[in-house]
Structure formats: structure tokens, C-alpha cells
Symmetry: none
Subunit: 192 residues, 4 copies
DNA sequence: GATGAATGAGGTTTCATTCAT
DNA sequence: TATGAATGAAACCTCATTCAT
């Protein structure tokens, strides 16, 4: 029984994401993906131009999507604390909703990050900008915005890594209060 | 003209580490490594059993070595703040001394972590233990030791990631004061 | 231009058999086989899992097939002389029909015989059993059934070897009367 | 402790013979041989020019040696029965003394037989000649000397094969009386 | 939309052999 | 005599990709 086009396409996405994260991009073969999906290798080429294009598609779609959601959240919030709260929530929500995508976008080391252009919406850049603007407005102490952005991002990326390796239970959203508190402390902001 | 044994072995180590980190394990071929070293592919097999064994050798040696240095530092220090200071220093020193090894051990996603056995000295585990023991002694507020360990590790691993991508200048050791301060704040400890 | 599946599969079988017998298993490369078939090496792996599996497939299929035909012939005949006549005919017919398969199964020294399990139909074992049962029934003098089976088998295997090296002309079926007579004499049975 | 030259040379011979017979010439590597001997691969080249020369040395030395002993035995005996008895003894003695050499010379399929020249003493040829001369002298019935030689050789080669595969116990010399009797019967000679 | 045979390049590994030591 | 690092070719096999069906 042939599946609908969109069904197979979605299954390819899911399998490829899972395998890229589990085994790494270079160690995942098109055959691995086809086998996981339950089709032959040739069928994959009906949906994607090739392995590189598939990886880039998965990456850029997720990368831009996350960036847009982060941008919306930070824009809707007032004050650096609320902006960061919203963004941390967004990261945690993505992890809980689609851990493979989260890992692929933010933890795994594939070559895709090198293809990101400066004009693409960029989650990391958005966090940096929010921090930098808060410094300019004097909401937090002036300093190296990149360093502070890294410290903040570490608060969510490292717990996510721990969750991947089973050191933290899921959903990660349950850790939001602790992570928010740590974030505020780092920035010397009053607790919520 | 054959080189001394230890010379070639060391060069293989360096090249493999560099390439595994740059391109990923699965996307690095033995030919890539041989070309970087300046020998033929066959020569690699006189020094290592194969690609997997080479990766595991690099990983386990570095992993255990780092763990041992961390253990020494934390054991030599008194109080959780000093223990964490020492360990953070050790991480930063490794990054500045050998960024490829740092990335391979702590940032890159290869399959090696899955082969780590519970009885091997483990950097992550050491950080967790130091945190847990501080909680038991009441030096810091009780809580989930794994989560706190993740937050602390994030303070060094994420800046390192930023340094890899050029968002932070090197040496990373210069950031030690800022990172220490953030660490103390997270744990609600007085500044040094 | 892809051929029909069964066509290529059969051609691989024929070429592999021929080369394994001519050059020996270990001295025949997959490239040799592919070149003989007229496809690339990779194509072979769509039909067989690998070189070992290919050899085992050829061997076990032929080994069991011959055993089944021998079994049918001996079961259909009455008296040890007729049973042995039928089996000798079967051996000679196989040699004349497919000398490469005959050599691969019965003359060549590859590792395949070691993989034969006791529950597989086995040509040598069938000859031994027929001899042993004739001894039990008193049709031939009691003695070491394995030794007598060896002597009988030698009557057909060694002429086949001579034919392979050009010391005897083909078809070998023409030698059946002489071989039968020798067989009867060895067993002290009256001539036909 | 370095070994004497002749010692190592002999050990290479023994190991190579054993491995060529066990695994086949093409599936035996110089490394296999060196490992069995207990030296490095390079050392083998102090004693033999290469793998091919090693195999040919083992083969031709044994082949000619056996032929010379067979020739001596048949020349010393009077009458075809005694000549064949002597030769069969010689075959069985070789099997019991050095089964690996026996297998290498007479059972295994390596490429060496193709290199045998017509002017080399040749065990198979000697058996054929003795049979042919007996036919000329009317000691046995006239017929195809090659076929009769094959039948006689089969009486010793096939039991040897059975002994290799454990179907017959050793020493094979114990089977001499049975084999002689079978041989006389085939040739319609009176029992001894 | 999917299959499956095929390709040609390239993967990891092993080979026989050489040579400075 | 022997070692052991090295080579260059070739081993087996897998890769991403194409295409007739």
C-alpha cells in the first residue's frame, strides 16, 4: 500500500534526523535512512535532491523556525528577565517536543553550521542581541555580550545534553524554574 | 625514510584529532588522516588497529587524563568554591592547550561516549560528585546534583563552543574570573 | 542496462565456480568475478552478501543437491551392486554436466567442508551408509565401512582428477563400465 | 635468543606447509606464516625469495623426492604386484610421516602443479608408467593405462583424504593390507 | 511514487615486499 | 639474521546516486 507523499516525506525527515543525531551525519548512509523509513534508497531521491540537501533542509528549516519563535517571544516580552524567560522556555519546549531536532540544531557537530549565512535568522545571534541590548539599556552590567550569551545558553544546552545521556529525566520543562533562577543570578537580576 | 616510532604515532594522533573534530568522525577517512600525517594509509595500521580503535584510543586517553587532573585539583582544594574553581581552571587550561582534544572529549558527538564504562574516571561524574558532596555537607542548597552539575559545566562548555566558532577570543583562560563569578552566583556562594 | 535478476545471479554463480576451481578460493578476487560476469564489483553485493556467502551458497546448494540425487538413486536400486552403480553414474553424470561444480564440491580444498553440519545431506556419508548397510546385511564382507567407502569413492574421484588434468578424455561417463567392474572386484561381487 | 639459520628455515617450511594446506595458498599470508614461525615478516625474505618461490620450493622438493623414492621402490621390485605394493607403501609412509606435505603434494589444489615440467620426476607419471609397462609385458590386461593408474592412485589418495577429515584413524599404514588386496583385485592379480 | 539493478568512486583494511637499522 | 616502519597495490565492501521499469 503506497503512502501519501507527505507521509513518506515526513517519515524521511524523522528517520534522517534520528539517525544523524544518533550516529552522526557522516556515519549515516542513505541506506540506513531508507531502511528506517521502510522504502528503497531510490525512493528518497523522489523527495530530496540528495544527502547534503536533506541535511541542510532539516537544519535550516529547524534553525530558522526556532529563531523566528525566539524572536517572537523576546519581542513580546518587556525587560531582559522576561525576554530571557521566554527564550529559555522556547528552547526547553523544543527539546521536549522534538529532542532529535533540538540535538541536531544545537548540540550535534555536523557541517551545516558553516553554511549559515549572516542574513539568516539565528537563535544564537538573537540571544546575543537581547543580551547586548540589555547592556546598552543598562538593565544588566555592561560586559562582553558574547560571553554572557554563552553563559546563558549553557544553562539550557548543558541540561539538554545531560537529558540526552539520561542524567536528567524528561520533560526538561520541569527544570525551567531552576534554570530561570540560575539565569537571573548570573545576570544579577532580582528573582521572579 | 622511516621516522621514529613515537614521532609518527604522535603525528597520527594530532592529525586524527584535528580531522575528527573538524569534519566529524564519520566524514574523516583514513586517507584524510594519512595525507595529513604524510604517510600512506597502510602505515597507519602499524600503529593502530583501525579507525575505531584510533578514535577510542584518543578519546579514552584524553578522557581519563582529564578526569585524573580534575580529581587531583578538587581533592587538593578545600570547600566547594575552591574545588569548582580548580576544576573550571583545568577545563579552560585544556581548551587553551589543546582545543582539538577539548572539543573531541567534551563537545563533539562521536560514538565514543557510549563505550565509557562506569569504572572509568569520568570528568562529568567528578563534577557531579563534587556538587553532590557539597549538598550533603550543606555547603550549597540541596537539590538535583545532576542539574546543578549541568549548569556549572554549561558555564565552561558553552563559552568553549563560542570560542570554537570565533564568537569569543582566545585564550579562554582570560574568562576565568567571569566564569567563576557566574558559578558562585548560581550556587549562591559569596564572591571570591 | 540492467539485466534480469535471475540472469545476473546465474552468471555470477557460473563465473565464481569456474574461477574458484581454476585459481582457488583465496586467489580469486571479487574483481575477477565481476570482470568475468561483466558487471562492476558493487553489483555482486546486490546478489550475494559477500565472498564467503557466495562460496558457501555455491557449495551447499551443490552439495545438498548431489546428496539428494544420490539418495534417490540408491533408494531406487536393489542390492549393493546396483546401488553403487547408480551412485557412480550420478557422480560421473555430474562431472560431465558441470565439471567445475564437481571439482568445487569434491576435489577442491576450500574452507567450505568445515561448515557442513551433521544434519545436512552429505554425498560422502551416503556412500558410507550404503556400504555399511551392505555389510550388515552380509552382502559384502564385514570390515571398516569408512575405508571401503573411501576405496569406492577413489574409483570415481581420482579418474575425475585425471580428467581435469587432461590425463583422461571426456566424457567420463564412457569409463563407467571399467569403473563399475573395478568396484565390484574390490567388494568381491560378481561382475554384472 | 637467535636461532640457527637452518632451524628457522625448517620452521618456515613446516609452518608454510601447514598453513597452505589448512587455509589454501591464496588465503595464507606471509604474515600468517611469520606469526606461526615466531619471526617478523621481513625475516622470511632472508630465507626465501617470496611467497611464490616458497610454495614452489616446498612443492618441487617434495614432489621430486617422492618421485625418486617411488622410482627406487618400483625398480627394486620384481613383477607388477610387488612394484605397486612398494609404491603404495611409499605413499602411505609419506602420509604418516608428514601429512601436511602429503596433502600439499597430492590433495591440495594450488597452482604449483601447472609449473611441473615434463622432465621432472613425477609420482603420478611413475605409477602410470609401471602400469603401462605391465600391460606391455602382459602381466595385467591391456587397457587405458591412465585410467588404471587413476584407479590405483584413488585407492591411496581417497583413504588419505578420509584420514585428513577424521573419517579414518591414523597411522594409515595399518590399512596397507586392505589397500593392497583392493589393488590386486582391480588388476585381477592373485592375492599375496 | 516506488523499485531494484547497476555504477563508479571511495571506504577500511590487508597484501607482498623493501630497506634502514 | 632479524626487526619494524613504510610503501603501493590490491583486497573486500559500502557509498551516494541514477534510471529503466
Amino acid at each position: 500500500m503506497p503512502r501519501s507523499r507527505s507521509d513518506t516525506r515526513q517519515r524521511i525527515r524523522d528517520c534522517a534526523l534520528k539517525l544523524f543525531v544518533e550516529k552522526g551525519f557522516g556515519s549515516t548512509s542513505m541506506r540506513d535512512i531508507a531502511h528506517c523509513v521502510g522504502v528503497t534508497e531510490g525512493a528518497l531521491y523522489r523527495h530530496f535532491l540528495g544527502k547534503d540537501e536533506l541535511a541542510w533542509h532539516l537544519f535550516s528549516e529547524g534553525f530558522v523556525g526556532l529563531a523566528e519563535r525566539l524572536e517572537r517571544r523576546q519581542a513580546a516580552a518587556h525587560g531582559v528577565a522576561a525576554k530571557l524567560d521566554g527564550m529559555l522556555d522556547e528552547f526547553l519546549a523544543l527539546f521536549d517536543a522534538d529532542p532529535a531536532l533540538f540535538s541536531f540544531l544545537l548540540l550535534a557537530q555536523h557541517g551545516q553550521l558553516d553554511k549559515v549565512t549572516a542574513d539568516m535568522p539565528n537563535p544564537v545571534e538573537i540571544v546575543r542581541r537581547v543580551v547586548a541590548e540589555a547592556m546598552e539599556r543598562g538593565e544588566i552590567a555592561a560586559g562582553n555580550a558574547n560571553l554572557v550569551a554563552a553563559l546563558v545558553l549553557g544553562l539550557v544546552l548543558q541540561p539538554a545534553t545531560f537529558a540526552v545521556y539520561g542524567r536528567l529525566t524528561r520533560p526538561l520543562g520541569l527544570r525551567a524554574p531552576d534554570i530561570r533562577r540560575a539565569c537571573r543570578r548570573i545576570l544579577d537580576l532580582p528573582p521572579s
